[in-house]
Symmetry: C2
Subunit: 399 residues, 2 copies
């Protein structure tokens, strides 16, 4: 495999393997490993039906330390009862044994079909060799091994300079269906070599997830397996990033960029999706109203289908704002597609504007801005269009 073009943070290695969980023979098992136990923060699905690996990993991450992340695709190990919990623990133990780690330092993560026991022979047979394959240039393979219905692997990196030291962040994500806050059906792992003061990693992760993975929707379905982990090796040897410092602002900005870029990749790769649309709500009575309105427009099946039809159907947009629960005075609403005004004070503009708006809808990425004229609240959401291929992919997924 060619050397990665991504700048891998110091102190991390990775490996990926085709273990046979996917019948296609594609990559389906991967490992990210730090050279030593490192600081870790995690965010997990809010679904009450929680997959076994999420339960195991969430409890282990409470200690704030992690050394390895084992991830498989092709099987979610969800709704698998006590057997699933035993299997998830055994997966972690296999890594711990091969690398001589404490089992509590191993995070396990699965994505794929629900309700089928993990094929443990794949893990028993191949985890030891996976552990021997660890190298600096295999992160591309990890991103591929996480894929289920994803059309492309999702990676993003940033390098920042803190007090003369280069600090790297690298993020990997998977997700295309069952995408909805909080959280989307997705896995994301971000590794960095930054040195941060105690407690900052968790706060940085939470605000970043809230502004990225909690602002996207493909199909309103929240999965059983979502997990975002952030690991910091501290190997960059930068001066420790402290609370309230400019360096923390720099670090969080880079983290936010990575997370939002990965989140947008997930929507762009939304099952059957042909468009990435930003729904921007401005001038709401408050931010909560703006978020409710943005979510309502972003999740409206009729709006999403109109995007696919490249139809500037603002009636569906204003209707979705109307039932969002947000304060709305229809006579104050303005709507535009990119910079083309379409609705002014609740009334549609002329057919010349509609023709211009239709041109915007032909683009693969655009922004719908809705001004409510009631206050200072604003929020955004990213969504996809709803297409024939979404139906095709999901009507046939298991068969």
């Amino acid at each position: 495999m060619a050397e990665s073009v991504f700048a891998v943070p110091k102190g991390f290695k990775a490996a990926a393997y085709s273990s046979g969980i996917k019948k296609s023979g594609k990559l389906d098992l991967a490992l990210i490993c730090a050279d030593k136990p490192v600081e870790c923060a995690g965010v997990f699905t809010t679904n009450k039906v929680v997959a076994a690996p999420v339960r195991i990993t969430e409890s282990r991450m409470h200690q704030g330390l992690c050394q390895a992340i084992l991830v498989n695709s092709g099987n979610a190990n969800a709704c698998t009862g006590n057997q699933g919990l035993r299997d998830a623990r055994r997966c972690g133990d296999l890594v711990a044994e091969a690398l001589d780690l404490a089992p509590e330092l191993v995070a396990v993560s699965s994505t794929g079909v629900i309700g089928v026991p993990l094929p443990m022979h794949c893990f028993e047979e191949h985890v030891p060799s996976l552990c021997r394959m660890l190298s600096h240039d295999q992160f591309d393979g990890v991103a591929k091994a996480m894929m289920t219905t994803d059309a492309f692997p999702k990676m993003c990196c940033r390098t920042i300079n803190i007090d003369g030291q280069e600090v790297r962040l690298l993020g990997l994500a998977k997700g295309a269906g069952m995408i909805h806050p909080d959280m989307a059906t997705m896995l994301a792992f971000v590794v960095t070599d930054a040195v941060l003061a105690d407690g900052l990693l968790d706060a940085a992760l939470r605000q970043s997830v809230n502004a990225s993975f909690n602002r996207i929707t493909v199909d309103r379905d929240t999965s059983t397996n979502d997990m975002v982990l952030l690991l910091a090796s501290g190997d960059a040897e930068n001066q420790e990033i402290s609370e309230g410092s400019a360096a923390l602002g720099q670090f969080c900005a880079a983290l936010n960029e990575i997370m939002l870029e990965l989140a947008k990749m997930i929507v762009r790769d939304g099952e059957g999706s042909t468009k990435l649309v930003r729904i921007q709500i401005n001038e709401a009575a408050n931010d909560a109203d703006a978020l409710a309105a943005a979510r309502s427009v972003a999740t409206s099946q009729l709006v999403k289908t109109a995007f696919f039809g490249e139809d500037a159907n603002w009636g569906r947009i204003i209707a979705a704002v109307g039932y969002s629960g947000a304060d709305v005075d229809p006579d104050k609403v303005n709507i535009s597609f990119d910079d083309v005004a379409m609705v002014s004070n609740g009334l549609g503009l002329d057919s010349a504007q509609e023709a211009r708006a239709s041109e915007v809808l032909k683009k693969p990425e655009f922004t719908v801005t809705v001004e409510l004229g009631l206050g200072e609240g604003s929020a955004y959401y990213y969504t996809s269009d709803l297409t024939y291929d979404y139906i095709k992919i999901n009507a046939d997924y298991r068969t």
Copy 2:
């Protein structure tokens, strides 16, 4: 037109006409008219973006009296500003003038495209002739004139016997898209000749809507134009139906049957729909939890697409229950398709059961029952499958 096979309640006439609002030349304008001012109850959309005719009619219905309902399809008169309000009032005035009624006794109702002013010349020209066409056998035409993307007209009637007197109820509805509580994008008008004590009509309507139109979803989009009106002429000359009486139970049962049947017709006619599925939640911690879980499963895009794929994908169902907000213990969940058990205590049953379940999913109508094993709460929801044709219809609707 052939005589209606429906038993029309005494004291009502109807008419329908092709006025040119629909370019196809199909029926698009209709009138239901009582011989005198009659008792009326109404329920209206909860969308904050409310169409002009809803605003006019809701304010008029507060008095509890109505004599005529004018309805048009092809144009919703929504997001049309002050011009829309003037137009809606003018439509009512045209009926009032032609029939010599007080304008406050005329309900107006519109359904169709949002954001386009009503073509008033169609009303000016044809409402007077519509008023001259009123007869007892034109209710079929009204049901047709209400249709937009509907594939078939929706009518339902019941005749009950109260103290030896025949009492009739006749309901008409339209709706196929923008269907979601509270309310669905729909219009429904029910007329009866029952004599009821003061105040009972409104209570009967509200409980009935709650158990029918508020228990269906096609696409989670709540429209700007929903309206259900119930008119009672009292011409059956039955002994007045009083509060707490057996006769009220009989009347409400018949009303509920009509409403639920119309509601199910709407789902069966859901845009692109090929299946009508009842989601039944039992043994929830309480009824509110059951309703939340039923709604979550019924609105899940992934579940609805699996229904289209005739895939007994119970993982998506349990995931939708898991994110519904209802109390769930995954290890206590049972799921069945009609009488075929598929999941027991959170675990999938064998492939023989899955094969039997797949047979159930091939049927045009079936029930998914989810038992949560936590209490006595139960609720149901009716939903459709999500299909290629839904995308086709809604990507192309305006163009």
